[in-house]
Amino acid sequence: MGTDWAAVYEASYEDLVRFLYRMVWEDDRAHDLAQETFVRALRHDPEQPRAWLFSVARNLARDEARTAVRRRKHLTLVRAEESGRVAEDAEQEMERSERREAVRLALDRLSERDREVLLLWDAGLSYDEIAEQTGLARGAIGTTLSRARQRLVEAHRMGEDQNATYL
């Protein structure tokens, strides 16, 4: 095979991490899984690199989800080496954590299929690639995305309204 894996890596790594992050919700874990995916890809040298990468990544993320701890609200994990920076970092991390939590909760309101299609699209896959990944007909991708986007926006708005009520 003549795949230029360096170019594939350059073009796909960030997309893959973004996709995985929305599945596992941990920076480090998303990077670990993305790297594991690429390591496997280099060993197997598949014919359709990008499709193969996302297929393996989906499976790894699903395995991860089966064994992972259920994440709780307000999870704050901060690792900082410099004590002087920690307070500021912690505040930023808290804000980031809240945003992430709001997105996670909104995505949780979607069906698994809708969520996957939306995340695959967000990771840069085309309708054809999403259809191949998910087994959906190509003509159904637009409908699925339409539904997924609507539910995401509504669920996110609902979460914001609830937070506003508590405040």
Binding site: V17, T76, A87, I141, G142
Partner: protein
């Protein structure tokens, strides 16, 4: 032409309908002539943009490794695979790896057998001719600074066995000690520092791998935060929260020894105030007052730690915990929490905060429900931001009813 479906509108916006196709042309003509579909297209565009914005607000952090690093990883994993299943092109490398592993296994077996045999001899009274002043296994184990380096399960077995012996000996001694100092068994003794009698090596503070590597400004010494498992006085009042002290799970001593060996390398916050909760399921049931005394000495922070255990018997033997901050009621609350990877411990760090009333940390094991919970109340003095010098004392108190 009937109205355009939502799916087609989104496909249109996503550029998924090829411009040269008949379908694209038909949709374009319809959108020009149908105001309903044109306004629905606007709504779909807005929704699409909104969804993109939502997803963009949760982006991963971290940086990507270089492709070269990934390539080397893949090569390493190739080498590992070749040991068990050498392909035609990997035979030599696989054979070499297998040969090296064989030698390594032989050496490890020899070392392990020697260690065990030596331990048996020492137990039977044999004196090490190279170190006559240090004749017992226990003292040798105690002097081993990096048990993890030994990488031998036998080491931890030895530790467990010795600790069990020590525990049995302590149990025999306990009644006499309890009678000798009844004040120590009173859970209400607010001034009783639990660690007054704790041996130095049981101090729980944070382990600092290299004292010289931390500047004086950063340095924090935690005194008197002894291992509460060791410090629990015999005859103490039964913990009010759980009602009973749970016996250590099998292998807990080994896990603790392993955890102790791992802490210095794993705790990046060794230079800041930290309260270590040692196996809370079995040791920290009850209520403790947390006293901070900062060394410039301007801030004094009273507080309370309450701990409950949910699955006490399942604490040991796991390696992944998360720590969750619970209460967000206080304004300006800022705390940073770091969950140790070490099996039996949680490290909690207070960073700063004003008007802080309370927060809760919980330990969670992978694939399980809550295992323990520590509630830290700081009703009076806030911790000044970035305070990094001070001492911490844990004092057992009587649990107050809710």
């Amino acid at each position: 032409m009937p109205h355009i479906s939502d799916g087609d509108l989104h496909a249109w916006l996503d550029g998924a309908i090829p411009e040269e196709s008949e379908e694209h042309e038909a949709l374009r003509l319809h959108l020009e002539s149908c105001s309903d579909c044109a306004s629905r297209l606007d709504a779909a565009r807005e929704m699409r943009s909104g969804a993109d914005d939502i997803l963009a607000s949760a982006l991963p952090g971290g940086s990507a490794p270089t492709f070269e690093e990934i390539r080397l990883k893949a090569e390493d994993s190739d080498a590992d695979l070749s040991v068990t299943a050498p392909g035609p092109g990997r035979l030599r490398r696989g054979w070499l790896s297998a040969q090296r592993l064989g030698w390594a296994a032989t050496v490890m077996l020899a070392l392990g057998a020697g260690w065990i045999g030596r331990a048996v001899l020492v137990e039977k009274g044999w004196t090490d001719p190279f170190n006559e002043g240090n004749p017992t296994v226990a003292s040798r184990v105690a002097e081993t600074e990096s048990p993890a380096d030994a990488s031998l399960e036998t080491f931890f077995d030895e530790v467990s066995a010795l600790e069990e012996k020590d525990a049995a000996r302590q149990r025999e001694d306990q009644p006499a000690r309890s009678n000798a100092d009844p004040r120590k068994s009173d859970a209400e003794g607010l001034g009783a520092d639990l660690n007054a009698d704790a041996p130095e090596d049981n101090e729980v503070g944070f382990a600092r791998p290299d004292e010289d590597a931390v500047s004086d400004d950063e340095a924090v010494r935690l005194r008197g935060t002894g291992d509460l498992a060791q410090a629990e006085e015999p005859g103490a009042e039964a913990p009010a929260v759980m009602g009973e002290v749970i016996a250590p799970p099998a292998g807990a001593a080994r896990q603790e020894a392993r955890a102790k060996s791992l802490q210095p390398a794993l705790d990046p916050w060794h230079a800041v105030p930290t309260v270590r909760l040692v196996r809370p399921a079995e040791t920290l049931t009850g209520c403790y007052r947390l006293e901070y005394s900062w060394s410039p000495g301007v801030t004094y922070l009273p507080g309370t730690i309450e701990l409950t255990a949910v699955e006490p018997a399942e604490w040991a033997g796991q390696s992944v915990y998360t720590v969750t901050s619970g209460s967000r009621a206080a304004s300006g609350l800022q705390e940073a929490i770091w969950a140790s990877q070490a099996p039996d411990s949680i490290w909690v760090r207070l960073v700063s905060g004003e008007d802080r009333d309370a927060f809760t940390v919980r330990a969670e094991r992978a694939g399980s429900d809550w295992l323990g919970e520590a509630r830290v109340l700081t009703p009076d003095s806030p911790i000044a931001a970035n305070q990094t010098r001070g001492t911490v004392h844990l004092v057992k108190i009587r649990c107050e009813p809710e």
